[in-house]
């Protein structure tokens, strides 16, 4: 039974949803599932834009068959070679042996590396190349390192549709909906969209900026990403988010407190600070236990807020391992331009403060506030003044 949606009169969504997968890329939890979007254009020629993950291949093949009817499939444009979109290439070729695969040179190289047998059915394209499918003309725009090197996006100059590959995607199954205005994106989707972007593409801000620059020169009417809703209005909202994220600018003035606690004492200090901040008028405060929050959520929130407080115990004379993992991930994802405060705890040789400061100072454009709190095992009444000045220094830096 095929299950598709019309996007325009001749363009169809033929993808599907996976709600069984626990970890996307076998690393990021996706409690709300994920959609793998593929698009089918019925012009004088029939054109498939990308495929889907192997897990939903059966549904996908039925969808294509359902839309094509008796027609054959002429072209398959592969914007992105990652297996969650490219896994079914061979399956398509087996069923439609005359199909021409359109992709970049590097994508073709990757197909061979992944073991897909396409032989000479390939048309290699590069930046600026155009193809006409009848009524629709498309132009290919390379999008290297968003977030793979072979990636390109395809722009339909006839109707302004941009097939944007992994750009503008989001975690989350679609639940029958397809368009951005069929969901309450700012309420229900932005957090997952941010978590997707920051963890998957976050490192490649400069490359995203380069793509956004190219995008600003064309008149985009609709964005068809490979995950999540299709955008057919209010594009500015999402483009603005992408611009902020890729420049590593925070979305909100607020304080994210991330604490690593063993017996609750460091957590108590973090609570004390949070309470002081709120009492002083900064109510945009969120707290996360680094041990039981998946790092993908921590990264996503860190991209969102302007200020971060790291509160960590000392463990084996080092930073608490989950905190260290979070910081290493932050560095790997190239996060910049945040303001940090540090609380360390230790019962005999507190080290985590100094070490966290060192790690942060090796990242780009990070401000580390001078006031620092060193807790000896547990915070005492007399530490209140120091914590208060720590809170003040955070508020001062927000001005």
């Amino acid at each position: 039974m095929h299950c598709v949606r019309n996007i325009t009169e001749d363009l169809y969504w033929v993808g599907g949803n996976d709600r069984r997968l626990a970890l996307f890329e076998n690393i990021h939890p996706i409690p709300r599932g994920v959609s793998y979007n593929s698009y089918l254009l019925l012009d004088e020629k029939t054109v498939l834009f990308d495929t889907v993950d192997w897990s939903i291949c059966r549904q996908f093949l039925e969808n294509i068959k359902g839309v094509l009817g008796d027609r054959n499939l002429d072209y398959m444009v592969i914007n992105h070679m990652e297996p969650d979109h490219a896994a079914c290439i061979e399956e398509i070729i087996l069923r439609y042996p005359n199909i021409k695969v359109v992709c970049t040179e590097k994508a073709f190289l990757f197909m061979n590396q992944f073991g897909f047998c396409i032989q000479d059915n390939v048309i290699e394209v590069k930046e600026g190349d155009t193809v006409s499918f009848g009524k629709h003309n498309v132009v290919f725009v390379s999008a290297p390192m968003v977030h793979w090197p072979e990636a390109m996006v395809t722009y339909d100059t006839t109707n302004g549709v941009l097939f944007s590959a992994d750009a503008f995607g989001s975690f989350g199954a679609l639940d029958g909906k397809l368009f951005n205005d069929e969901v309450n994106f700012d309420r229900d989707w932005i957090d997952e969209a941010r978590r997707y972007y920051t963890n998957i593409v976050g490192k490649y801000g400069p490359h995203v900026q380069s793509l956004l620059k190219k995008a600003s020169s064309i008149d985009i009417k609709m964005i068809c990403p490979l995950h999540g809703p299709v955008w057919h209005n209010d594009l500015g909202y999402f483009l603005d988010k992408y611009d902020k994220w890729s420049r590593y600018e925070p979305e909100e003035k607020g304080v994210m407190i991330v604490y690593g606690t063993m017996y609750g004492n460091t957590e108590a200090s973090a609570n004390d600070l949070a309470t002081r901040l709120v009492k002083k008028g900064m109510t945009n405060v969120v707290m996360y236990d680094v041990s039981n929050t998946h790092v993908s959520y921590l990264i996503s929130e860190t991209f969102k807020y302007s200020h971060v407080v790291l509160a960590s115990v000392t463990y084996n004379l080092n930073i608490y391992p989950p905190m260290l993992n979070y910081l290493m991930d932050m560095r790997a994802l190239n996060l910049q331009k945040r303001t940090f405060s540090i609380i360390e705890n230790g019962s005999w040789a507190p080290q985590s403060g100094k070490l966290m400061r060192e790690l942060l100072s090796n990242m780009k454009e990070m401000t580390i506030l001078d006031n620092e709190m060193s807790v000896s095992s547990s915070m005492k009444e007399e530490d209140g003044d120091l914590m208060d000045s720590l809170a003040d220094s955070i508020l001062e830096s927000m001005k």
């Binding site: 290297p144 490359h207 380069s210 006031n371 003044d385």
Partner: protein, 635 residues
């Protein structure tokens, strides 16, 4: 080719020799004894047109060749090495960078008065941590609007204080080593540009050598010499030429000593004949004359190469290294010929012996000369990481302002300190009990072994009262001297001070003590030893005798009223280092996202730290994925 100077050269030599014999020789001993700068003689040299010999007449120079310039220095040095170096530093180091790299405006404004001798020039490259290795330069110049803000200290600067125009080298792009250095023209008298101590030297005592201190000196943008990042190149090419001057100086010193020895050996009779007729002395003189001739040829030929715009870097290094090395041998032999008489003050050979030594050291040590020569022969030696890495040692107490009050009388310096503290927000109308626990005290006046006798503790108590502080001490003062209870010493093993103001009196700054005060908002150091470690760990410092400074400070803090009870402590902000963002651009690879960081370079690809992306060789490829250089985009 005929290895002989021209008639004009020899006429010039005669003229300068006459001047030196008449104007400098009579006062040379006095200048040496009194460490005195020959201002009058320099003025006369200017009037003779000797202060800009190799520069074009258009810019106020004499338009003569480099040999003429070398002869001038040689002849002055023949009589007094110090006077020789004044001319050399002025002409080669002060004038050359402007002549070679200056804009037309800069030449008209600065080279003309230098070449005419109306003003004196100097050159500031050497620093405490940047001698042979200019990569250690710590003086910074940060562009703010139309000005570069210059901060730092230069040491061992010839003509310091006497010169009006200084070529100063400072870091404009941090963390990339020598490629981040730029050159600036700085004028004496600009706000924040002061002179430190005048060194008491072994020789060349008629020349002045001192420290230059730059404290937020505003240098107009247009005083940048060349482009940003060209500083090292400018310095090196300047020193290439300067080496001819120093070689000529060494030649002159040796020539003078040799002539004196020759003359003396003809007069001094032992064993019934002049000692020059003793073969051992005769042969010495023969060797001296030979070395002099070889050295002179080396110098003049390097000068000719430079004059004819041919490559002369190696030859200048050879001339400087060889001449200064043989100069030491010649002055040694000359003094030996004089025997005990030569060892006496007032003897020219005695002065020459002392003057000579500096020539193997400055304008590039002779070890560096050999490095220049050998790399010309062998090629550049591969650099290893440890050499290229710029060490960034932090003081034990973290970043500190390190403002040392040096200007004025003790009273003025104390007042400047009190003003600075008040500016930082310290209120000296309030105070805390002297016995407040150290860990709870907002302020502590702490005493070290420098206090001496126990009766001097009265000074500390008086100061603590007026500073509104509790009393603390270093470990030995509590443990050994027992001037204060054991629970009042500050340090890693003792009490930790977490308050605002810490005044360390007579504390040298042992590591264990510093660990106890690293959280202090402000550290003030008072110590008689200017090199005490505490000064590198303090925000403010006064070098001076406690017996003098403490009463002055106590008086300056005294408002005539009893101190009011201090409100609960508010932790004050510490000084934060000015963040110097790197001015270089990062580039990322379109093939894999690898980021090229000039601060790191590409060790695997043998690209040194500090290499800008544009300077990478064309054949360089991404170390992560192998894409070509043109696949990179600027961040």
């Amino acid at each position: 080719m005929f290895f002989k100077t021209t008639e004009q050269h020899e006429n010039l030599r005669k003229k300068i020799r006459e001047f030196a014999e008449e104007e400098v020789k009579p006062i040379a001993f006095l200048l040496d004894q009194e460490n005195k700068f020959p201002s009058e003689a320099i003025k006369k040299l200017a009037a003779m047109g000797m202060m800009g010999l190799p520069y074009p007449k258009k810019y106020g120079g004499a338009g003569l060749d480099i040999i003429s310039y070398a002869i001038a220095i040689e002849e002055l040095s023949r009589v007094d090495g110090g006077t020789g170096v004044i001319l050399s530093a002025h002409t080669s180091l002060g004038g050359y960078p402007i002549a070679a790299y200056g804009t037309e405006e800069q030449k008209n404004k600065y080279l003309v008065p230098l070449a005419k001798g109306e003003k004196i020039g100097a050159f500031g490259l050497t620093e405490e941590n940047a001698g042979s290795d200019a990569g250690g330069t710590e003086t910074t110049a940060v562009l703010e609007g139309d000005y570069y803000i210059l901060n730092g200290e230069k040491i061992f600067i010839t003509n310091a204080g006497e010169a009006d125009i200084y070529i100063i080298f400072a870091v404009t792009t941090p963390n990339i080593g020598i490629r981040g250095i730029s050159a600036f023209i700085v004028e004496k008298g600009w706000k924040g540009f002061i002179f430190g101590k005048h060194y008491d030297k072994m020789g060349i005592r008629s020349s002045v050598t001192g420290e230059l201190i730059f404290n937020d000196v505003k240098v107009p943008k247009e005083n940048l010499l060349g482009k940003e990042g060209e500083g090292f190149k400018i310095a090196m090419s300047t020193l290439d030429g300067g080496r001819i001057g120093i070689a000529a100086q060494a030649l002159g010193i040796a020539q003078g000593a040799y002539e004196h020895a020759l003359e003396y050996s003809k007069e001094r009779i032992q064993f019934g004949k002049p000692i020059c007729q003793q073969q051992i002395v005769a042969f010495k003189l023969a060797d001296m004359a030979t070395k002099l001739r070889a050295a002179r040829m080396l110098i003049y030929s390097a000068a000719e190469l430079k004059e004819n715009h041919e490559y002369y870097s190696m030859e200048a290094a050879m001339a400087k290294q060889y001449t200064s090395d043989v100069c030491l041998e010649i002055v040694n032999d000359a003094l030996q010929i004089f025997g005990g008489s030569g060892y006496m003050k007032g003897m020219e050979v005695e002065r020459a012996y002392r003057d000579a030594k500096i020539c193997t050291i400055y304008e590039g040590t002779n070890e560096i000369q050999r490095l220049v020569i050998s790399s010309n022969i062998i090629g550049k030696m591969p650099k290893n990481d440890s050499v290229d890495k710029i060490s960034k040692k932090q003081p034990a107490t973290g970043y500190r302002k390190k403002v040392i009050f040096k200007e004025g009388t003790s009273k003025e310096r104390v007042n400047a300190l009190v003003e600075a503290l008040k500016e930082d927000g310290y209120d000296f109308t309030v105070g805390i009990p002297l016995d407040t626990p150290i860990s709870k005290a907002e302020r502590v006046v702490s005493v070290g072994l420098g206090i001496g006798e126990k009766e001097n503790m009265k000074l500390i108590e008086d100061l603590a009262v007026q500073a509104g502080a509790a009393i603390g001490s270093s470990r030995p003062v509590a443990e050994t001297l027992k001037y204060v209870p054991l629970n009042r010493y500050v340090g890693m093993s003792g009490q930790k001070f977490k308050g605002n103001l810490y005044v360390a009196c007579g504390i040298s700054g042992a590591a264990q003590h510093l660990k106890g005060i690293k959280d202090a908002s402000t550290i003030v150091a008072i110590n008689i030893n200017p090199n005490a470690k505490i000064f590198k760990n303090a925000d403010y410092g006064i070098v001076g005798d406690l017996m003098e400074i403490l009463p002055l400070l106590t008086a300056a803090l005294d408002n005539g009223e009893a101190k009011k009870e201090a409100p609960p402590m508010k932790k004050m902000k510490r000084a934060v280092p000015k963040k110097v963002a790197p001015t270089w651009k990062y580039h990322v690879c379109n093939g894999c996202g690898y980021e090229y960081n000039p601060g790191v370079g590409d060790p695997e690809g043998e690209v040194n730290t500090g290499t800008l992306f544009e300077k990478l060789p064309e054949e360089w490829t991404c170390p992560a994925c192998g894409e070509e250089k043109d696949m990179f985009i600027e961040v």
